[in-house]
Symmetry: C2
């Protein structure tokens, strides 16, 4: 058993706790004052104490199980230290009645807040409605803890068309992404009026959350597409070890982190005086770009190590930039290798995607690995479900992806086959709901 | 935070440890005597000691991370306490050369044994082959612990056709399942010459294992279909809490358990004098039936609680048989409810599937929940990936499924759309490999 091998779980379990604003018992008290009957049990002194800051023994399992505060200046699930599992769903609104949509957004808020503390989707849960009514909660997460669940909502460009009277509210920055060279988009994995990103450390908890929100939306929304992610591919906190993507490389070493508020303000959060991105009603919100990137892993797996490292621009084992020794060493694009060429090749991914080559552009990456069965011709359908948050997609993701689509050697091994963009509103204060600012 | 809520993880982490034959440090020593360089680190005294039986502090995280012995009388991954995540793949052999197939089975054995202790798929791993060769391990699990990984192999009926000279070896009991009423099988999710079941507590570790075996099989095998499972739906040890399926009900309460060796000998393990199921070369092996069962969860979620409970035959919250109070209370099929009808309806699932109604038939269930995106018409593609081990499918699964397909009210809510059967050979003794008994 490797001690280094445990770092991912342990860091999230101990160091990671410090980066979230509360742990289980605390979060319950802080959000809804004990009014919730938790899934399967009431809060007990024992269980609250076990997670309290004063507890003497760090408990990795408990920290992974803990609750993340639902309300705050920003939505949870953006700079929250990335949980290990994802269920993402894009939905279309099928009602024509704005009041129904507003009502659903309010109901979603109540249910989401409950589920993030480990409670059932509605009071009464499995049995509260009595024998002659469908249960208020589907039940598969009954008995499971909060598991770090975050539920993050986004509004797609199409939500602001003529149907719901929201056209005047549409931020200029919220528009479908342009076509990029090499795109092979599948319309069945593209777009959506709304999205819900559920992240948790137990996939059953993430799937349960999405499913119960869908259930609440029956007749108002329908699933357009959905994506399960099984392993985070980025760290969003300095307390987390850098994970690996399905190319086997550490991913997101230089990602923006929760501990860098100035960088986040500059690159991620919408400012209240920025009318282009929504101004006041979007202030503290962010834009989410989702891209389903199929990786041709069978081809990659037959590529020599040196070629893999040259394509990425880092060494595979340590994750160090080529020409350097350690993962977090600075990239030196001028440094020459023994052969006289630059250690980091001119078309390496890290060079093309680096802020210094893109006029300072940075984004907060929060993607997941996926494996969705097989492709029917002998290969796994696997890759990276790229999720990234930013202030303005047109000024950040679009130029970045244009540069990558044009020159990145990695393109021989990947294929973008799903795409969507959403405006994620700011976090909610006590008493607010997701339909409020939208319809105000 | 609910104390009950933690039971699943905690039981697996502490009680569960007792049910497996070793923990990390022990398993490494017992299997390959320190010859393996673990992913990212060598075994240290510290890490070995932390998992050893004498350690003073139970560590839930470590137990979930621990290694399960690869060799033994039976293959691991059958009565091993069910891990939380699954990656299952069915493969077709694409070579015509029996020697190539035998060689692959030998290479798979080496790689599987290494990966189950947390090592890379081959010595040298990420970098051992040097810069001009493809890495011997794809790398995405580098730094991750063993995570309870088990890798279980099965041989499909088609493997014993004329191609590889194995026809004489084919057990009479190994044949494709008959068609059942209501089957809606998709050929792209059906059959296979071989299967690999990888179970682990970290999905990245399970996916890594399958992918590396596929990589080793390039030119010899091709992926026919694969399935990711995110939540176990059965317990296979008395130390595990009963999980819930996507209908929100506890599943597998009366499952066979690792702690019942006599029942397992009767219902799961092939006996050496049973020629029909393979006799000597299959003794200690078992038969695996896989069924992909789509659940129409949206319809189910609008079904009243009482109707749900009548269909299953248990109460939703406790999981108690109807008419009883506790989950593990015995089923009483004669007991009447207040309305004079039997408390457990005549067509309830638990009644139809109960051993007493099926001439004593029992099977070891080891299935997983799945959610595979959406179905294109507004719903999640979700359900139960049913996996079950038994001595003889024709005498166990076939009559059981015939009874269920005919009368089970649950059929209105489910659809079997994938199916396969495999002969899983016995466990390997030191020095043996998966191709040996097959080609002997």
């Amino acid at each position: 058993m490797s001690t280094e091998g445990l770092s991912r779980r342990r860091l999230l379990g101990t160091g990671g706790t410090a980066a979230v604003a509360g742990v289980a018992g605390v979060a319950v008290g802080a959000t809804t004052a004990g009014a919730l009957a938790l899934r399967g049990n009431a809060v007990t002194d024992d269980s609250a104490a076990a997670g309290a800051p004063g507890a003497t023994t760090p408990s990795p399992a408990l920290a992974l199980d803990a609750a993340i505060p639902f309300r705050g200046v920003h939505q949870a699930g953006i700079v929250t230290p990335a949980q290990d599992r994802l269920h993402f769903v894009a939905l279309d609104v099928v009602t024509k009645d704005p009041a129904q949509l507003r009502g659903l957004l309010e109901a979603w808020t109540r249910a989401a807040e409950r589920m993030t503390v480990g409670a059932e989707a509605a009071p009464g849960g499995l049995v509260g409605g009595g024998p002659n009514r469908a249960p208020e909660d589907t039940g598969e997460a009954y008995g499971l803890p909060a598991s770090g669940l975050t539920i993050t909502i986004g509004y797609g460009p199409s939500l602001f068309d003529e149907r719901f009277g929201l056209a005047a509210k549409k931020p200029a920055a919220l528009k479908e992404l342009p076509a990029f060279a090499g795109d092979q988009l599948d319309p069945r994995r593209t777009g959506g009026d709304l999205c819900i990103q559920a992240c948790a450390n137990d996939p059953q908890v993430a799937v349960h959350a999405v499913r119960n929100l869908i259930r609440l939306g029956f007749g108002v929304v329908a699933v357009r597409w959905s994506q399960l992610g099984f392993g985070r591919t980025s760290s969003t906190s300095t307390a987390q070890a850098t994970p690996r993507n399905l190319f086997g490389f550490k991913d997101g070493t230089n990602n923006l982190k929760a501990e860098q508020p100035e960088d986040l303000a500059q690159h991620v959060w919408v400012a209240k005086d920025d009318e282009r991105t929504g101004g006041a009603w979007m202030a503290g919100g962010s834009y989410l770009v989702a891209r389903r990137i199929r990786m041709h892993i069978e081809v990659w797996d037959r590529t020599p190590l040196q070629e893999q490292e040259d394509i990425i621009g880092r060494d595979k084992k340590e994750g160090a930039p080529l020409g350097q020794a350690k993962e977090f060493d600075a990239l030196d694009f001028a440094k020459k290798g023994p052969d006289g060429a630059t250690a980091i090749p001119v078309d390496a991914h890290v060079r093309l995607a680096h802020a210094s080559r893109l006029g300072g552009i940075r984004i907060l990456r929060r993607g997941y690995n996926f494996t969705d069965g097989s492709d029917g011709v002998g290969h796994l359908d696997a890759g990276l479900f790229f999720l990234a948050f930013m202030r303005d997609p047109e000024k950040q993701f679009v130029p970045m992806q244009r540069a990558l689509a044009k020159a990145d050697v990695l393109n021989e091994y990947i294929e973008h086959n799903g795409s969507a963009v959403f405006a994620c509103p700011p976090g909610l204060a006590e008493g607010e709901h997701w339909g409020q600012a939208l319809f105000a």
